[in-house]
Amino acid sequence: MTQLELELVIQRAMRGDRQAVAILYETFVRQIYRYVAYRVTNAADAEDLTAEIFVKMLEGLPGYRQTGAPFEAWLYRIAFSRIVDFHRRGRRTPQDVPEELPDDSPLPEETLLEKQELERLRAAIGALTDEQQQILMLRFIERKSHQEVAALVGRSVSAVKTIQHRALVELAARLGSPEKVRHYLRGGGQT
């Protein structure tokens, strides 16, 4: 979807057009879900928070002004504040709903390894500051360039690079070397 088409859809959604809202939802739901799923512990919370973010988007649309910043940036800001609220409230739901991963991995061993890797990364990322988490998520999970990340978080490119560097240093210290992790996954008994 081009920027012009997106602006037209946003204007229709501001007037209360359900179809335009559905288009916005389809366009952004996966990336918002990914962004949320790395910051909360289970899929039920991620689903709940993602729906809340889009409902907040609907409530805020009448006051939305197109200032040249990407619409995604506004949406990520809503997501960021909702996640911070979630952690502040300390809401925890029991992990009765299993984490859903893509079905292209037929072997259960691989699924298990992926789940463990995901949990490990999630725990390590969760120990970073909110800003570091946001920048790492946008840069490596959402695979955006430094310029795009800077536009989304409202910082300069050099600031984004600095925060990325610090976050990677912190994350590397928390994760340890990958060789050790692979050894652990093969059943070596070491982390």
Binding site: A22, Y38, A43, E47, T50, E59, P102, E117, F140, A172
Partner: protein
């Protein structure tokens, strides 16, 4: 220093440039590369991405579309405009001052809306008219200062005469006057031997 301690050197720009190169080239580390930051970044890049199931997507979609207002209703208004706190302080302060003025006026028996009494205006007016007419009298009609620090005999000295000594005004410091230098005229005084020489009887000649 950082290489000695085993930590990678702090250069965010270089790290970002190397990461860009590696990610563009296919997200594989070059052989022999053991930078832990690059390894961590690639590990994050290749991490499994949680994907919502179709059922979850449908549930979220239904919840979002249910929140859309029906087309007949006007769109919800935006957030109320916020009032700057300074304006609130000013309004509250003005209200408090007005309240104090009303209370004081009620206590004094005169409302603030009443005009100023006539004698006050008349007295002020006469004084000012006179000053305008006779500008030389300005000094004379200058209102007295309330506090005169160099007042010699304050009123309380008359009231409390015992305090007179204690609060006696300072005396001036004694300063001996300088004497003007006047060169003394020397009067002619004959020396003693001259006098003696005059009065001495002539010595007998041998």
């Amino acid at each position: 220093m950082s290489e000695r301690s085993g930590r990678p050197p702090y250069d965010p720009e270089a790290l970002a440039a190397r990461l860009d190169d590696i990610l563009v080239a296919g997200a594989t580390l070059p052989p022999g590369e053991d930078d832990p930051l690059l390894q961590t970044a690639l590990r994050l890049w290749q991490a499994p991405h949680p994907v919502p199931s179709d059922a979850a997507l449908a549930r979220m979609r239904a919840r979002v579309l249910d929140a859309v207002p029906p087309p007949g209703l006007p769109p919800p208004a935006g957030p109320l405009p916020s009032v700057p706190p300074l304006l609130i302080v000013l309004v509250v302060g003005a209200g408090a001052l007005l309240l104090i003025a009303v209370v004081l006026a009620a206590l004094s028996g005169r409302s603030p809306a009443d005009p100023v009494p006539e004698p006050v205006i008349a007295a002020t007016d006469v004084q000012f008219r006179r000053r305008r007419t006779f500008p030389r009298l300005q000094r004379r009609f200058r209102p007295r200062q309330r506090f005169r620090p160099r007042q010699r005999f304050p009123h309380w000295r008359r009231t409390f005469p015992r305090l007179q000594r204690r609060f006696r005004p300072r005396q001036r410091r004694f300063r001996p006057q300088r004497r003007r230098f006047r060169p003394q005229r020397r009067r002619f005084r004959p020396q003693r031997r001259q006098v003696l020489a005059c009065c001495r009887p002539p010595s007998p000649s041998p």
